[in-house]
């Protein structure tokens, strides 16, 4: 790799998740006078954005992209990169396995560091090193001393990966040895406590940062992982499209049998969102009463449509009626009405609910 010269300043790329750690890690390096750009990878599983946009449409709070907010606070430029397709390989076949749920954190970190290192900056130049907000011991599987060495090695970054928040607990990296950054100004945070980060945030005057202890993606969520497993099991193959993984974030999911599952909106924002899928999925709502919209994922037979309609009716205002009219719309525009009796609460078995 080309070394910085007196004609070219040292440049770093920071992995910006949108959380506190990446904000602080980047700030520490910026304060050393290094030219930093940020990168945020959109995998499709990110916590922010989607669900916020779907469920909180009517609320006043500003819906911001946290990575963009962090970059804006730091005054750096941000690359937001769509890696949905290439990230599939990481989720489907993680070399280092999964964490507690379907989160392939170690492979994910390796992927992101490698990807970041190989990017080119807005000025057309490559980066000299990568900044990561990892802290030793913060996460039980992916942020241990041993795994940090694995990430550095397998990403190909080796000593060009700098973790400013715990650098003093690790061997000196190239930027430290070369004197591009002063090791003395870096930190020695370790363990699960968030206190050192919060103290540093206060020192810097950052107050409005996102989810100090939160995970970066839905794959760490048990309910979400159950729904993803169900998707793979019933389709008979481990694969997904972006729409699949977005829909796993929305609504109640019920699977009465292997042929189909029902995605049932829980509120108006979700109702509106599911309407957008009318050309891809069968939709059911209750024509005679107010109630949720539901999508059918799978290949239901006639009886399945009645079962699905009875579930939808259970969640409608007509739940106590002896008969209601369900409207079934097919992707080709065909429509039919079914006269059905809503299920009572005990007629919907617990095991039909996925990921609750």
């Amino acid at each position: 790799m080309e070394q910085p010269t007196k004609f070219r300043a040292v440049k770093a790329i920071a992995l910006i998740s949108g959380g506190l750690d990446s904000l602080l890690a980047t700030k520490v390096i910026l304060d050393q006078g290094i030219d930093v750009e940020g990168v945020n990878f959109f995998t499709g599983f990110c916590v922010e954005g989607h669900t916020q946009a779907i469920r909180k449409r009517q609320r006043e709070k500003i819906k911001r992209n946290n990575a963009l907010w962090v970059a804006d606070q730091l005054g750096i430029k941000l690359h937001i990169v769509d890696v949905v397709q290439e990230y599939k390989e990481i989720v489907l076949n993680p070399k280092h396995g999964y964490g507690k749920n379907l989160n392939p954190c170690l492979d994910c970190k390796i992927f992101m560091v490698e990807r970041a290192l190989n990017m080119v900056g807005f000025d057309g130049c490559k980066f000299d090193f990568v900044i990561s907000g990892e802290v030793i011991g913060q996460r039980p599987k992916s942020q241990r001393r041993e795994t940090m060495a694995i990430i550095s090695r397998e990403s190909g970054a080796h000593d060009r990966l700098l973790r400013p928040l715990c650098a003093k607990n690790l061997p000196a990296t190239l930027p430290e040895r070369e004197g591009w950054v002063n090791r003395e100004t870096l930190h020695d945070f370790s363990g699960r406590s968030r206190k050192p980060q919060m103290t540093l945030a206060t020192e810097y005057g950052f107050t409005d940062y996102a989810q100090p202890a939160g995970g970066c993606c839905f794959l760490t969520d048990q309910n979400y992982s159950s729904k993803l497993s169900d998707l793979w099991n019933t389709r008979g193959q481990r694969d997904y499209e972006l729409d699949d993984i977005v829909l796993l974030k929305v609504g109640r999911h019920l699977r009465p049998n292997h042929r189909f599952k029902l995605i049932l909106a829980r509120e108006e924002g979700e109702n509106n969102f599911l309407k957008g899928y009318r050309q891809q999925y069968i939709q059911i709502d209750i024509a005679s009463h107010t109630g949720p919209l539901a999508l059918i994922d799978g290949d239901p037979n006639e009886n399945d449509l009645r079962v699905a309609s009875r579930i939808v009716a259970r969640y409608s205002q007509g739940r106590n009626e002896s008969n209601v009219c369900a409207r079934v719309r097919f992707p080709d525009g065909e429509e039919k009405n079914l006269s059905i009796q809503p299920y009572s609460a005990h007629e919907i078995p617990e095991h039909w609910h996925i990921g609750v």
Partner: protein, 86 residues
Amino acid sequence: MNSTTITLDTTGLLCPLPLIRAQDLAKELAPGSSFLLLASDPGVYYDIPAWCRMHGHEMFQVEESSQENVIQMWIKTAETTSRSSE
């Protein structure tokens, strides 16, 4: 109303995809070009101005059509190139 010729329709996409598509289009366009972004996710109200500020682009007009909640944003890309290459 505007002489914008390029329209980027991101309606139905959730954030950050409208932003990613806008960013990718801006990379392709000559500096100082204009385009119209159509979006339905209100997240663009924060994301697009922040992104414009960051990269020197200019969002010179915003409208929300009452029908279908489509947000229209007219954007002029920076006069100097700010290219990410992936």
